[in-house]
């Protein structure tokens, strides 16, 4: 199980290959990559703040729950903080399971919980100003699925 909270970039393809390498016990690997997107137009960069210490603990807890619930062979969580330019990967999760449904569900669970329960905050810096991204009711509603 790899969990990394980091300022530097990562290579999603290399991470996926390392995560998948030599697996004989799993049939299904799912990955999710979140990318800095220009939602409103004019985005210059995304700034991600986090709560060092709590972040790692919160992610580890979410990861342990996913691992136990779907009997995952393995999982991966990488989340960046700091200033990220447009088009850059923000974060990634990967799950390895015997069957595809477990791998998909666990990856969605990780994403839903990371979004609303891990202490990260996103600020969008555009050509005309900057503002904190607001959590939506859908983010919270997503948790009720689980």
């Amino acid at each position: 199980m790899k969990i990394s909270v980091q300022e530097g970039p990562f290579d999603a393809g290399a991470e996926l290959d390392a995560f998948s390498h030599g697996r004989h016990e799993v049939g299904a690997i799912v990955s999710f990559t979140g990318i800095v997107r220009d939602r409103a137009g004019g985005l210059v960069r995304m700034e991600i703040e986090h709560y060092p210490g709590m972040t790692e603990k919160a992610i580890a807890e979410i990861a342990e729950q996913a691992k136990a619930r779907w009997q995952l062979a393995d999982l991966l969580v990488i989340h960046r903080h700091g200033a990220l330019p447009l088009g850059q990967p923000i974060m990634m999760v990967a799950t390895a399971a015997a069957h595809r449904r477990a791998a998909f569900d666990a990856a969605e669970y990780l994403m839903d919980y990371l979004k609303s329960r891990a202490p990260f905050w996103k600020k969008e810096v555009t050509r005309t100003g900057e503002h904190w991204v607001e959590a939506t009711p859908e983010d919270e509603d997503a948790l009720s699925r689980w």
């Binding site: 979140g34 991600i48 703040e49 986090h50 709560y51 210490g53 709590m54 603990k57 919160a58 989340h79 923000i90 974060m91 994403m111 990371l114 979004k115 609303s116 329960r117 891990a118 202490p119 990260f120 905050w121 996103k122 600020k123 904190w132 991204v133 607001e134 959590a135 983010d139 919270e140």
Partner: protein, 82 residues
Amino acid sequence: MIDVVYFAWVRERIGLPRERIETEAATVADLVEELRGREERYAAAFADTSALRVALDQELSEFDADLAGVREVAFFPPMTGG
């Protein structure tokens, strides 16, 4: 003595990321009341606690939670990771 930390727009409104506070507050709500009374920037940051989340010693908690034994209180808006 308790460490109080702020993140995102809470940090920006109050104007600092962390401070050490001498307090007798029994609950998070008591502490919020005390901070609100300090200065306008605190009153602004804590105007609507339904827009805020609180963590005690790095665990998500509630505004009616007890502060006994707590070393670090964090205030921040709902998370927006992922």
